[in-house]
């Protein structure tokens, strides 16, 4: 490849971001704009008996107030789980749930008006722990009336292939452990922010920090009862998402509603505490995992029972429930396999999708147990893993189709770079190495809302100025998808990147893309962009070959020139554009992506299906202070198979970011609940690792060249997080011979484990 593909390429918006010019949702100001503040519930679970707005309405500067019954239509990102309303209707289900919203001339007035709203509540029994939610209760006490069997269970997801229990029972060795994982949240830098503008032509424009403009458009239409074609959602520059902006949110709907009601632009910006309350982070999880193996170190079966604490609403919870189980089918061959995941409702802020969705906690459990089995067999943990890896081009027991697979190369890379063979088990007391592997989807093969459309469409426009503009609904949230689009287009057209520009994530201007979630953008949008660019190139070739009487197949594009090998044709890009557009003006080509038909015929077979999977292997080195229990992660070697690194700089960034985020969940981050509300909803007490806590990183990119990915590419944004946590847990064992079954691995827990061992 002669263009930018495969070259380390800074993000096209990088300068804008670092110089403060980039426009985030909060940066949009309109004349005559109003500001929204919310009155939130002080109760975990209570009936709303009465709301008195009279005092608030009288406050000067208050323009509109809305409450739950104004927007009663339920929604939820998954059409199978529409259990949420924009504001509480009839009852509240967690502390912090929005009860009323005020639009006023200033934030201060809106805030004051909220304090003047009087609400009478009748508290109901609350359910704060998943174990309580599993037990029968009266219909009046249920968090949602649709929970089955009089409990507060949201979803039971289970799949069993063959007879894993029996296989484990009959195994030469087995290991069963119970793990506990605290809830964690995304910690993105930019808080939620939305600006809505109802126009004179009765169209709605919503500028919002979102990963899913298309889904938001859909649910705005549903709840506000406005036709889709009258709604325009724009995603401006977004300051991080990690899954935390991948739902349609109540504040987006309410802000839009208040703009419609007042006929004025309305802005909403969350405080950091509100971001925490909104949560949608990784579910607190308790799981018991059993894995069996034979004497040769072959895994014979896996069986797990998982309870995840979903909080008050569904969000992506049904998917999370399945992902907890199905994504244990790799990277190892396991033919006797089964799981049951129970997602409970509790009276707490809702959980949802977060980087590595659904699979991070089970991955920790699996990799720790593999480590234990290896030790039981006196086998090197790397060797054990090698024996069990899935090959390329195979099906798992649940019919996930594995195509390219570079996991063995990943393992070999980190094993060599960390000098594992010389150092593992031979380090001084208090110092240790740990290995873990992982895999993840490159986009969900099935859309959330079943339909006959492609999963993404890209338009590429060429005009007289020689500029190529890509129109795509893809949402760049910091992962570099805009840059990826430009790279691909520049590569295919043989032009420099400065000639390519993007118009993205605007549901009026850009064709549909489903959003930035499930690590789908590079694979799906990349393929669509490539297809669209090739069509444009073909159009250029067709017209130029005709005019110059040259064989189409001899025409090449490189470095802003169009030429043949023998130089019988040798023109600039602009000259070629003029020929191509003569007599017809600008042209637009279109590319799209539709996943191949995948999966089995059983219920739940769609979960975890992806056109391709990434793989990885990570090794951590830790030191443990045996007197204090403090763990310092000294270094992490990470190798990730992303198929082909379209932009190695971005892939390295994703791997490094995954190490940092995984480190946080492993050793310090935890959402601490106190009577249903977070005790630490701020960045002082929620312990995201600082630069001083972040280890040295050694990143290796493995390119397995996926046959269906654009230029062979697969995902790199989520997969790398999975092995980070267990690599740390396993390194702690190597350092001080204690197994950590509860995350985060804080010093008090390590010290307790050390003392219990003695």
């Amino acid at each position: 490849m002669s263009g930018p593909i495969g070259k380390r390429t800074p993000y096209i918006e990088a300068v804008q971001k670092v110089t403060g010019q980039a426009q985030f949702a909060e940066d949009f100001h309109f004349s005559n704009m109003l500001y929204v503040k919310f009155l939130r519930s002080p109760h975990t679970h209570a009936k709303i008996q009465n709301i008195n707005l009279s005092k608030a309405k009288k406050l000067a500067g208050v323009c509109a107030i809305s409450i739950g019954r104004d927007l009663p239509i339920p929604f939820g990102v998954l059409p199978i789980s529409p259990d949420e309303t924009a504001m509480a209707v009839n009852k509240v289900r967690y502390i912090g749930e929005i009860v009323a919203a005020v639009a006023a001339e200033s934030e201060k007035i809106a805030h004051e008006a909220c304090s003047l709203i009087e609400v009478d509540y009748e508290p109901i029994r609350d359910f704060l722990e998943p174990d309580d939610s599993l037990i029968d209760c009266s219909p009046d006490e249920q968090i949602h009336s649709h929970s089955k069997n009089g409990t507060n269970v949201h979803k039971v997801a289970e799949l069993y292939f063959n007879d894993p229990k029996k296989a484990i029972q009959n195994s030469d060795i087995s290991c069963t452990r119970t793990f506990k994982f605290a809830g964690v949240t995304h910690g993105f830098t930019e808080p939620h922010a939305t600006v809505a503008q109802w126009n004179d032509d009765e169209t709605l424009k919503v500028i919002t920090a979102t990963q899913v403009p298309h889904y938001l458009q859909k649910y705005l239409s549903k709840v506000l009862e406005i036709p889709l074609h009258k709604i325009r959602v724009i995603k401006p520059v977004v300051g991080g998402g990690f899954g935390g902006k991948s739902d349609p949110f109540p504040h987006e709907i309410i802000t839009s509603y208040l703009s419609i009601k007042t006929h004025r632009p309305v802005k909403c910006v969350f405080t950091r505490e509100e971001v925490f309350i909104s949560n949608h982070g990784r579910h607190p999880t308790k799981m018991t995992l059993s894995v069996g193996a034979d004497k040769q170190g072959k895994i014979t079966g896996l069986d797990t029972d998982i309870v995840i604490d979903g909080g008050s609403y569904g969000s992506f919870g049904v998917v999370t429930s399945y992902y907890n189980g199905v994504l244990l089918q790799g990277p190892y061959r396991i033919n006797e396999f089964g799981f049951t995941t129970t997602r409970t409702y509790t009276n707490k802020p809702q959980c949802g999708a977060m980087r590595g969705h659904g699979a991070v906690n089970p991955r920790y459990a699996m990799e720790v147990i593999i480590d234990e089995l290896s030790h039981s067999l006196k086998m090197d943990p790397c060797d054990f893993r090698e024996k069990n890896f899935l090959p390329a081009n195979t099906l798992t027991v649940g019919q996930l189709r594995i195509t390219s697979n570079g996991v063995l190369d990943c393992l070999k890379a980190v094993r060599e770079k960390s000098a594992w063979d010389e150092r593992y088990g031979n380090m001084p007391d208090g110092r240790g190495l740990g290995i873990a592997c992982g895999f993840f989807i490159s986009g969900s093969a099935l859309p959330i809302n079943w339909n006959r459309y492609p999963q993404t469409v890209v338009h590429t426009k060429l005009d007289f100025d020689g500029r190529v503009v890509i129109f795509s609904g893809a949402s760049d949230i910091g992962q570099g998808s805009d840059t990826m689009l430009v790279q691909i287009t520049a590569e295919e057209l043989g032009i420099t990147m400065d000639r390519v520009q993007v118009e993205v994530a605007d549901t009026k201007l850009t064709p549909v893309d489903l959003g930035s979630y499930s690590s789908r953008v590079t694979f799906m949008v990349g393929n669509a962009a490539k297809s669209s660019s090739i069509k444009l190139r073909d159009e250029l070739i067709k017209t130029i070959s005709k005019e110059k009487n040259i064989k189409p197949e001899s025409i090449q594009f490189e470095n802003n020139r169009i030429f043949t090998e023998d130089k019988s044709l040798n023109m600039s890009w602009d000259e070629g554009v003029e020929i191509c557009l003569a007599g017809r003006g600008s042209i637009v080509t279109m590319g799209y992506y539709i996943s191949p038909q995948l999966g089995g015929k059983f219920k739940g077979s769609g979960a975890g299906l992806s056109p391709s999977y990434s793989f990885g292997a990570f090794i951590s080195e830790v030191s443990v202070d045996k007197k204090t229990g403090a763990v310092k992660v000294e270094k992490v070697w990470g190798a990730h198979d992303c198929g082909k690194a379209l932009n190695p700089l971005a892939v390295e960034g994703q791997i490094e970011g995954s190490i940092h985020m995984g480190l946080g969940q492993a050793i310090s981050e935890e959402l601490v609940y106190e009577n249903g509300q977070f005790l630490n909803s701020n960045f002082i007490d929620y312990k995201i690792p600082s630069t001083l806590d972040t280890p040295d990183m050694d990143v290796t990119i493995i390119e397995s060249d996926d046959k269906e990915g654009p230029y062979g590419a697969k995902e790199a944004g989520e997969g790398p997080i999975h092995p980070v946590l267990p690599a740390i847990g396993n390194a702690i064992f190597d350092a001080v011979r204690v197994r950590m079954y509860e995350l985060p691995i804080t010093p008090d827990k390590v010290l307790r484990a050390i003392k219990e061992k003695i």
Binding site: R40, P42, H43, I95, G96, T271, E273, K627, T628, G629, S668, V672, E674, N675, Q677, L679, N680, S681, I684, D685, K687, P689, S690, T691, L692, D693, T746, P747, D748, L751
Partner: protein, 309 residues
């Protein structure tokens, strides 16, 4: 937050006049911590008196006997002062353990010495506190930590105070009367609500005076992260003339705790026992109570090992 006026006096005298003429005022030093209190509606002053323009509060002066540090000197500035670095490396270590490099550019010595006591159940937003219902320091008559109504155990988290305790520092306070000089130890109350003393009559902490004398010092701070976090336990210690020692502990009680003695008169276990008895530690920090208590012993062990060398 509804502040009626934001005042910037140019001298201590001006500041005291402003204080006298503006009811319900708040002295504002670097503001890195107090701004959060304002945002969370934990304090609601009508007037803010910002001390940052007062040059006389930003001086560092030294002679053969002592160093005096103006209370508005930033933590960054004292970390970079050669005299302090040479004679009081303990102060530099303590200052550099506070906040982050960016915060230390703004946060001041006086602000840290007089930092408000903290508690997980108090340092929360208005809405959060409303939901929890009661806090002795806020509203209601029940402490959420101890589930009793007797006493507030919010904890002092000044890292500098622990260091200054063991350096036997003096502080100068200007007020509407004659002002006063006192030992830093006398600045604190063992009370989670009324945690500072001698600041009445509009008192302004103006200077910290450190006597220059020999001795070996030791410092350690317990926290989850290596930056930013408030202390879960800070221990600063000094051994000087004829094996005398002074140990300042903080983060584990309503005020900094001072333990003094002579190493020939008391052993490690005796010191640990004194520390345990002196610290009224309750479960009001993100780190578990049992662990923080354990770490008092572990840190004192480590200090003990260090002085054996």
């Amino acid at each position: 937050m509804s502040v009626k006026s934001y005042l910037k006096p140019q001298s201590v005298t001006d500041a005291l006049i402003m204080a006298k003429t503006h009811a319900n005022y708040l002295y504002f030093a670097g503001g890195t911590d107090i701004q959060v209190y304002l945002k969370q509606q934990l304090i609601k002053p009508d007037h803010i008196i910002d001390l940052s323009d007062i040059g006389e509060l930003q001086n560092i002066a030294s002679n053969d006997e002592n160093i005096s540090i103006g209370s508005m000197t930033t933590l960054d500035a004292i970390s970079k002062n050669n005299s302090i670095y040479k004679d009081f490396p303990l102060i530099v270590e303590a200052a550099q353990s506070i906040g982050t490099p960016v915060i230390r550019k703004t946060a001041t010595v006086g602000g840290n010495i007089l930092v408000n006591n903290r508690c997980n159940f108090y340092n929360q937003s208005f809405g959060w506190r409303q939901a929890i219902g009661s806090c002795l320091r806020d509203v209601g008559d029940l402490c959420q930590v101890t589930k009793t109504s007797g006493k507030c155990f919010s904890r002092n988290v000044s890292d500098l105070a622990a260091a200054l305790f063991c350096l036997d520092a003096k502080v100068i306070i200007s007020n509407q009367n004659e002002g006063l000089e006192l030992s830093i130890v006398d600045l604190y109350n063992q009370d989670g609500i009324d945690f500072h003393k001698h600041l009445d009559h509009d008192g302004i902490l103006t200077k910290i005076i450190l006597p220059i004398d020999a001795g070996s010092t030791w410092f350690k701070k317990l926290r989850i992260r290596n930056t930013l976090d408030f202390s879960s336990l800070t221990i600063a210690a000094k051994v000087y003339d004829n094996r005398n020692f002074r140990i300042g502990l903080n983060g584990v009680s309503m005020s900094p705790v001072l333990i003094t003695g002579n190493l020939d008169m008391i052993d490690l276990e005796g010191i640990k026992s004194l520390a345990r008895k002196s610290c009224k530690t309750v479960d009001n920090d993100m780190m578990p109570l049992k662990y923080r208590r354990e770490m008092i012993d572990v840190y004192l062990d480590q200090w003990w090992v260090s002085i054996q060398k």
